[in-house]
């Protein structure tokens, strides 16, 4: 079976896509669905710039076949903001100056979003654990870590 017709939900939208067996989830998002926010930095599961949520969990989309995603729900950076309102992780990374060239940013935002979904009150170690697979060459990371901490407390305020 070299071509597969799969059904996936991407950022809340139902999609039917024909994909060859060897097409990665990253390629499907970028080349078939024109969702170019997710980036290809290494194609080897090392840099994290291709990170997306697959059924709520962060994965390197370059290390997942599109066909393995049949029936799954995927969230990319384009799906974080709702109705023009930024997700707290987006808002705080802006405010803390944690964006420079911006290429690693989509993957970082997804990793951060996933962390706060599973752990609304993360320690700094928890934040590092969630981000160690996201390489950044520009910022030096500190502002990103601060931003994630800040996003956690803002979410907590809203929830309270």
């Amino acid at each position: 079976m070299s071509n597969h017709l799969i059904a996936v939900t991407v950022n809340g939208e139902y999609e039917q896509v024909e994909v060859p067996s060897q097409m990665t989830l990253l390629q499907m998002l970028r080349d078939k669905l024109a969702l170019t926010g997710t980036k290809n930095g290494c194609n080897a599961g090392e840099c994290g710039s291709c990170t997306v949520l697959l059924d709520g969990e962060p994965v390197n989309s370059c290390m997942v076949l599109a066909v393995e995603c049949q029936g799954a729900s995927i969230v990319t950076v384009e799906g974080l903001a709702q109705d023009g309102v930024l997700d707290p992780v987006q808002q705080t990374i802006l405010e803390h100056g944690g964006v420079q060239c911006g290429f690693c940013t989509p993957g970082i935002l997804i990793s951060a979003r996933a962390l706060l979904d599973r752990n609304p009150n993360p320690s700094e170690d928890d934040i590092h654990e969630s981000l160690v697979g996201n390489l950044c060459r520009c910022t030096g990371y500190l502002r990103i870590v601060d931003a994630v901490k800040d996003a956690a407390s803002r979410q907590a305020e809203v929830a309270a």
């Binding site: 170019t36 290494c42 080897a44 950076v77």
Partner: protein, 785 residues
């Protein structure tokens, strides 16, 4: 020409930490990078056939089977392209013609309907090589025994400030002869002589190189790419193809990290060359991360020999340096690092007697290109450690030693240039204080040792003497301002700085300013390159000039309409106001439609378009024998960096506990962004200090991926990094500003090395200071068993 802005009051938002103008689109994933651009179903994909040998003659290439593969649309080789590429020395063909000179050298290119098919076609291209002996060490390469890698060196076109030695592998030999070095040694109370071998490293931008090229039926080229230098690429590619600059159009969207790797031309010409054969169909070439490591520009390795001496009071008297730069297969760009390190070879110190020989040597290694610091990080590794050793030799504190010797305004520099005012002493003092110099805190565990180290740095923008900038400031009906520049946003914040400078010089709020965020050589104003930490200063001057030009035009229009003197008018917060009558009028509409004369008696004004440029006019040549000349460079940015480390005695692992750094930026246009550069550069420096090194074995890269070329992750960064801004204005910078983008990674390696020495009493040598290197050094020294 910009009005000197140094003495005027600093208008908002200049000096304010305004939010970046490009960050919003980046966090929502809308910012387009070169691989995100869509070209429709006609797009072809290219792959490159590369040499697997470091040095060989090409005997034969047979591409017939590749051409026959269904889906392949074109195959090109070097025989179709005889032109040369090169920024400072034209030594590189687009595709190899008669020989290959490094593993990865492009031999043929394929365009096909998919990347998959193009890749398959590579295996069908048959290349017959005759291997040649290789050169893998620059000192050997410079010796008469080494085979000649560029027999035609004497025929290459070369900039008049680069001095190749034809008949050898020396692509550039830069000399400094200042004072009387032989006499000086006899007066030294202490002399240190050391050699440091600095390995190659790679820029590792998270976005790999990508270029899409299209050639129309008249031969006109359009190139979309991840590029720091659209205008330089236009120039170089046009030259190599025998075209005129205006026949090549380069379009450059956001860059996902450059650090110099996307300056000049590296892989872009390959895409253009292939596109000349695809009958108008665009061709996209992307580097894999592996190709990024070994075929894109790398930071040259270098063997640095230092000898320096001071008198008994700690005054530096003499420095003798020999640098053998491992330039790689082509040194078209790397020759200038040789020069730049030469004219800065005293380090940021006042040294009366200096003898330097800086050689750029061809080797069969990856191509050396510009990387953040442009020779300064590599040079400072050994230089700043020798300074520490001299201080120790006369039992003087290393901070005190630097205080005595660090360069100050008015000093005669190593090239004979007079140093401008600089805050280096202030940087040193503040950095030493911030790191708690002189205080030794206890280690965090019994098996650890703590130490502190400090290093100074300096760097001048390395460029031709006439590197220029220009800018446009256009008004819109709604009162907003559109700023157009040729300088690229590579993450450093240049678009934001442009917006701030325009807003400040014009008199409008920052919210009114739009910067055109996609460069296009057809419509953007010329900018030499986005390198050398030159944009805030040079592009900034052009932006200020353009904004002032627009401002002047507006004031003249309103003055005419109001029958007033333009000198009595001003623009504040987007309104023209009269100091005399206190009348005011918004820029809305009038900046395009003009102002009606009273009584319906006509109009005055018209669409306001400000223009400005800046080009330094005072840089002089240097004597080829002595390196002396009135003005070698435009200016120096200086700074200091200190770290505290802990060494694990069980494993040799070095942990950076905290860092502090101060840089004299003249005037921080956006203080928060300056701090972000200081932090980011520190981490990139720390990464090169602890982890990075390209492991080359007989010309083959052993670690061409993130698996074994490690860079710093969030867990490797100390929590406490103090970024300190010092401001001693630059006479011809916008409100005194000069650049800082590169400088923050220059002193990091020696600061770490000096700290390791403070911790364990051992100089580990050349970086990276991996746990293995440190541990084995301790083992060999008998510190552990």
């Amino acid at each position: 020409m910009a009005t000197p802005t140094l003495t005027k009051k600093v208008p908002h938002p200049v000096g304010d930490s305004v939010p970046r103008v490009d960050a919003y689109e980046k966090v929502i994933g809308a910012a387009q990078f070169a691989d995100d651009l869509q070209f429709g179903p006609g797009l072809l994909y290219a792959r490159i056939k590369r040499s697997h040998l470091p040095h060989a003659l090409i005997k034969k290439i047979d591409a017939s089977k590749a051409l026959a593969l269904p889906g392949v649309k074109a195959v090109v080789t070097g025989k179709d392209f005889s032109g040369f590429l090169g920024l400072y020395l034209q030594d590189r063909n687009i595709f190899c013609r008669d020989r290959v000179r490094y593993v990865g050298d492009p031999v043929a290119g394929v365009a096909a309907i998919s990347e998959q098919i193009a890749e398959q076609a590579l295996d069908l291209i048959e290349v017959e090589y005759e291997p040649l002996p290789g050169v893998f060490d620059p000192e050997y390469g410079a010796s008469p025994e080494a085979p000649l890698l560029h027999p035609d060196l004497g025929k290459y076109e070369v900039a008049n400030f680069i001095f190749p030695e034809p008949g050898t592998n020396i692509a550039n030999h830069f000399r400094i002869r200042k004072g009387d070095i032989e006499a000086a040694w006899s007066q030294c109370a202490a002399i240190v002589e050391r050699t440091y071998r600095i390995p190659h490293v790679q820029h590792v931008p998270i976005e790999p190189h990508v270029a899409t090229a299209q050639v129309d039926d008249q031969g006109k080229v359009t190139l979309w790419g991840s590029s720091q230098s659209p205008f330089a690429q236009r120039y170089l590619i046009a030259k190599a193809l025998g075209m005129s600059q205006s026949d090549v159009r380069v379009i450059a969207p956001f860059v996902g990290g450059g650090f110099g790797s996307k300056a000049g031309v590296s892989m872009e010409a390959l895409a253009v060359a292939i596109a000349t054969k695809t009958r108008g169909r665009p061709v996209k070439l992307r580097l894999t991360r592996e190709e990024e490591f070994y075929t894109a520009f790398v930071r040259q390795g270098v063997v640095t020999h230092f000898k320096m001496g001071c008198d008994q009071d700690g005054n530096l008297l003499a420095m003798e340096n020999r640098f053998y730069w491992d330039g790689g297969a082509y040194t078209e760009y790397g020759v200038n690092m040789t020069r730049a390190s030469g004219y800065s070879s005293s380090g940021p110190y006042d040294v009366p007697n200096v003898k330097t020989d800086s050689y750029c040597v061809y080797t069969n290694h990856p191509v050396g290109g510009p990387m953040r610091g442009f020779g300064m990080p590599e040079m400072h590794v050994g230089l700043e450690q020798c300074i520490d050793e001299l201080a120790h030799a006369i039992e003087m504190d290393p901070v005190q030693f630097r205080k005595i010797n660090c360069v100050q305004g008015g000093d005669t520099l190593v090239t004979g240039m007079t140093m401008h005012p600089t805050g280096l002493s202030e940087c040193l003092a503040k950095t030493a204080e911030a790191i708690g110099w002189g205080r030794k805190d206890p280690p965090s565990a019994p098996n650890k040792r703590r130490g502190k180290g400090i290093a100074l740095m300096w760097k001048a923008p390395a460029m031709p003497p006439n590197a220029g900038s220009s800018a446009k400031v256009a008004m819109n009906e709604d009162g907003t301002v559109t700023v157009s520049v040729g300088g690229q946003e590579i993450g450093q914040g240049s678009f934001t700085v442009a917006a701030q400078l325009a807003a400040g010089a014009l008199g409008v709020p920052i919210e009114s300013v739009r910067v055109i965020k996609r460069l296009d050589t057809d419509s953007s104003p010329y900018e030499w390159q986005t390198v050398a930490s030159r944009l805030t200063w040079s592009m900034g001057n052009a932006v200020v000039a353009a904004a002032q030009d627009a401002r002047q035009q507006i004031l003249e229009v309103v003055a005419k309409a109001w029958d007033e003197n333009p000198d009595d008018l001003d623009i504040i917060e987007g309104k023209v106001i009269s100091y005399k009558t206190e009348e005011s009028i918004s820029l809305k509409n009038i900046a395009i439609y003009g102002i009606p004369m009273p009584g319906d008696q006509g109009w005055v004004g018209g669409p306001i378009l400000g223009r400005g440029n800046f080009m330094p006019t005072y840089v002089t040549g240097l004597d080829p024998e002595t390196g002396q000349g009135p003005r070698a460079v435009v200016h120096y940015t200086t700074g200091a960096q200190a770290v505290e480390v802990e060494v694990d005695m069980d494993t040799g692992k070095v942990e950076i506990i905290r860092g502090a750094a101060a840089f004299d930026v003249g005037k921080a246009i956006n203080p928060d962004m300056v701090k972000a550069q200081i932090e980011g550069g520190f981490v990139q420096g720390l990464s090169t200090a602890l982890f990075e090194g390209m492991q080359l074995k007989e010309g083959v890269l052993q670690n061409p991926s993130f698996v074994d070329y490690r860079i710093a992750t969030s867990t490797d960064v100390p929590r406490d990094i103090k970024a300190i801004i010092v401001e001693v204005g630059q006479d011809d910078g916008p409100w005194g500003a000069r650049g800082v983008g590169e400088h923050s990674m220059v002193p990091t390696i020696p600061a770490v090395a000096n700290a390791i020495y403070d911790a364990i009493g051992i100089r580990v040598g050349a970086p990276p200071y991996s746990s293995e290197k440190v541990y084995l050094a301790m083992l060999d020294a008998g510190l552990v068993e």
